[in-house]
């Protein structure tokens, strides 16, 4: 991995400066990340309490908690990830295990990359036109969750594809060699072996989905609805949108800032946990398979 020279000539002083510069830039960018986290922990920590997490908002969102938004966000993420999990795993399996090199396969791979590059707000437009209006779901958890599922598909398909491809070939061939069919091999050998990585990808994707704002603006998010959803066909509040509302359109912005800091901290901690766990697992798995 490291390609530093073993017998390179000694560095000149200009080269020491260059090395220092790239190191400073790299750690500087990371320091900003630490700065953001620290800032929000410091300011938001003063607001965080059991009541904040479990009570609905009160008094024009200046008091109370964020429970309805928290619950709404969890619902949305669950709907999105559960929907996307099956499709993406099957699609990834197809690309990695079953597809012969063909135009169709190339097309699908091209589409996955293309879809990954489409801005999330465009997915929001699509969700509005398809789920909310054309299919008549209205602004609801289902419409928002499905929109988010579409958004996370490219990431998940690529993840599943890589997970299947990382299963050692010898195992698959041994299974085929003792007379198992391709489908049997897939379900008995490849899928169980690839499962940890697929799950890791799902955790990572749920972290991303949880923090998305643009796609839910028009498909689900309620400005102020301090109740818990009873069905998937109801609109709900969601953490990212609630934060956006708090910092841009409150009647008394100064008074809502403490709430905003608390909401931002909760959102940050949730996504940090999810992406942190996933990233940790991912790089441990990457290490363990290296033969």
């Amino acid at each position: 991995m490291l390609s530093s020279p073993r017998h390179a000539p000694p560095k000149r002083w200009g080269e020491h400066i260059a090395t220092l510069a790239v190191a400073l830039l790299s750690w500087g960018s990371i320091a900003i990340l630490a700065g953001i986290i620290g800032f929000l922990v410091y300011r938001g920590g003063q607001v965080l309490s059991w009541e904040f997490l479990t009570a609905p908002m009160r008094e024009g969102m200046q008091k109370g908690g964020i429970a309805p938004a928290l619950v709404g966000s969890l619902w949305l993420t669950a709907v999105a990830i559960l929907t996307a999990a099956f499709i993406s795993t099957a699609a990834g399996a197809y690309l990695s295990e079953f597809a012969r090199p063909s135009r169709f396969k190339n097309l699908i791979e091209f589409l996955v990359t293309t879809l990954a590059g489409i801005p999330s707000v465009v997915y929001g437009l699509f969700g509005l036109a398809l789920f909310v209006t054309a299919l008549g779901l209205g602004a609801s958890i289902l419409a928002g969750g499905l929109t988010l599922a579409l958004l996370s598909l490219p990431l998940l398909i690529r993840n599943a594809q890589e997970a299947f491809a990382a299963v050692p070939r010898a195992l698959k061939e041994a299974s085929l060699g003792i007379g198992a069919s391709e489908i049997q091999t897939f379900f008995r050998i490849t899928l169980p072996m690839a499962l940890p990585r697929i799950l890791t990808g799902l955790v990572l994707a749920s972290g991303r989905v949880l923090g998305e704002t643009a796609p839910i603006l028009f498909t689900v998010a309620a400005y102020y609805l301090p109740t818990y959803p009873h069905s998937l066909l109801e609109p709900t509040m969601a953490l990212p949108y609630h934060l956006y509302v708090l910092i841009t359109s409150g009647t008394n912005i100064q008074a809502t800032y403490p709430m905003a800091f608390g909401t931002a901290l909760v959102l940050l901690l949730l996504t940090l946990c999810l992406t942190g766990i996933a990233a940790y697992l991912r790089y441990r798995l990457k290490k363990s398979y290296r033969v």
Binding site: S29, G117, I118, G124, T213, A214, L267, A279
Partner: protein, 385 residues
């Protein structure tokens, strides 16, 4: 036999990507393209005083007349003050709750003014007026103007240039941040980072990539905006520069990991030869490695540009959101995605405003898809040497 059907099921799952992209394209165009032929004042008839000699008016002239930026005389009409009468300002003349005869009488008396300009549904229009043609050209309205006020009555302005230029400013600044910084980070990680820290820094990139954009935007609003305001002595720190810096920083993991991947894939033989010739580590980086991966850097730049262009929430929060033509990065701007996010919630489904916003969606979609497709087509195929 069962195997074949099983495989078909997997193939079908893969084919959903075709459905999604197809559906996305279909719906965007179905809702957005009507902008080109639908007029924003369908069902409204324009009418003037019978003695007004003008045969037709352009939408721009109507807007200028209503705003008071021009007069009838300047357009070759009567020498009389402009009296615009349209649905949104009717209550200036008569209350909506007025009894029908009074309502009709007031409209009729307005019709006697030589400078009157009616924009009303035919049922409300007084009899003694001359209908006047106001031809609408969708293309011209979108691309020949830079004024964006899509709900202005009686005729909205939907010039996209201020938004396009806003997006351009933000992306240019974002790229100026992310490209050098991303390359520097990748070089550092590949060349100088102690091996033990490699996975740690990759994890940090992952965390950075997963940061909710609305949280980054909030931090920007609280910390970066006041800094920019102080440093440049501005009235308001919400500028294109603020948004560009934040977006560039947010895109770092994408850029850096793509460049890193390319650096790792350089054939070791080349690197060894360079050292064999007596080159130092930095000479090898600058003369061999970076030139060698130039195509990958270009691809990574395209992908980062696509990502920055599409980012919505950060821009919405910290860029000031003024749909004005800006000639400096220290002015507030509004980008395409921010406009969508800010306005679509208020636009009734099927209204002209709604269609225009979907048209903006088409523009954004086409730009980002072509950036990504271009990157896909020209990406270097030599992954591992």
């Amino acid at each position: 036999m069962r195997d074949r059907w099983g495989k078909k099921a997997f193939q079908a799952a893969a084919a959903t990507t075709i459905l999604i992209l197809g559906g996305l394209t279909l719906f965007l165009f179905q809702e957005g393209l009507p902008t080109l032929w639908k007029s924003p004042y369908e069902g409204v008839t324009y009418a003037v005083h019978p003695q007004n000699p003008l045969p037709h008016l352009s939408p721009e002239a109507v807007q200028a007349l209503v705003r008071g930026e021009t007069t009838w005389t300047a357009l070759g009409g009567p020498e009389a003050p402009v009296v615009p009468v349209y649905l949104a300002n009717l209550d200036r003349y008569v209350s909506a709750h007025a009894p029908a005869p009074l309502f009709k009488h007031i409209l009729d008396s307005l019709a006697t003014l030589p400078g009157v300009l009616f924009a009303l549904p035919p049922s409300l229009l007084p009899a003694r007026t001359k209908p006047i043609d106001v031809p609408w050209n969708g293309w011209k309205a979108l691309f020949a103007s830079a004024r964006w006020s899509p709900t202005y009555e009686p005729i909205p302005s939907v010039g996209v240039w201020s938004l396009l230029i806003g997006s351009l400013w933000v992306s240019a600044i974002g790229l100026l941040v992310v490209v050098p910084l991303g390359i520097a980070m990748a070089v550092y990680v590949v060349e100088f980072l102690p091996k033990k820290l490699y996975y740690a820094i990759k994890m940090l990139w992952e965390v950075l990539a997963g940061l909710p954009s609305v949280v980054v935007g909030f931090w920007g609003l609280m910390v970066l905006v006041p800094w920019i305001q102080k440093i440049f002595h501005l009235e308001d720190g919400e500028t294109a520069l603020t948004a560009g810096i934040l977006l560039g920083w947010m895109t770092l993991p994408l850029m850096a990991s793509l460049v890193e991947e390319a650096l790792q894939a350089i054939p070791p033989l080349l690197i060894e030869s360079s050292y064999g010739l007596g080159a130092t580590q930095w000479q090898t980086i600058l003369r061999l490695k970076l030139p060698y991966i130039m195509p990958s850097i270009f691809t990574a730049t395209l992908l980062s540009a696509g990502r920055i262009l599409g980012e919505t929430m950060v821009v919405l929060i910290v860029s000031g959101n003024a749909p004005l033509l800006s000639w400096s990065p220290l002015m507030p701007v509004r980008t395409l995605p921010a406009t969508l996010a800010a306005e679509l919630g208020e636009a009734p489904v099927g209204s002209y405003h709604y269609h225009v916003l979907f048209f903006l969606g088409i523009i954004l979609f086409l730009i980002t898809v072509s950036l990504n497709a271009l990157a896909y087509v020209i990406q270097p195929k030599t992954r591992s040497a």
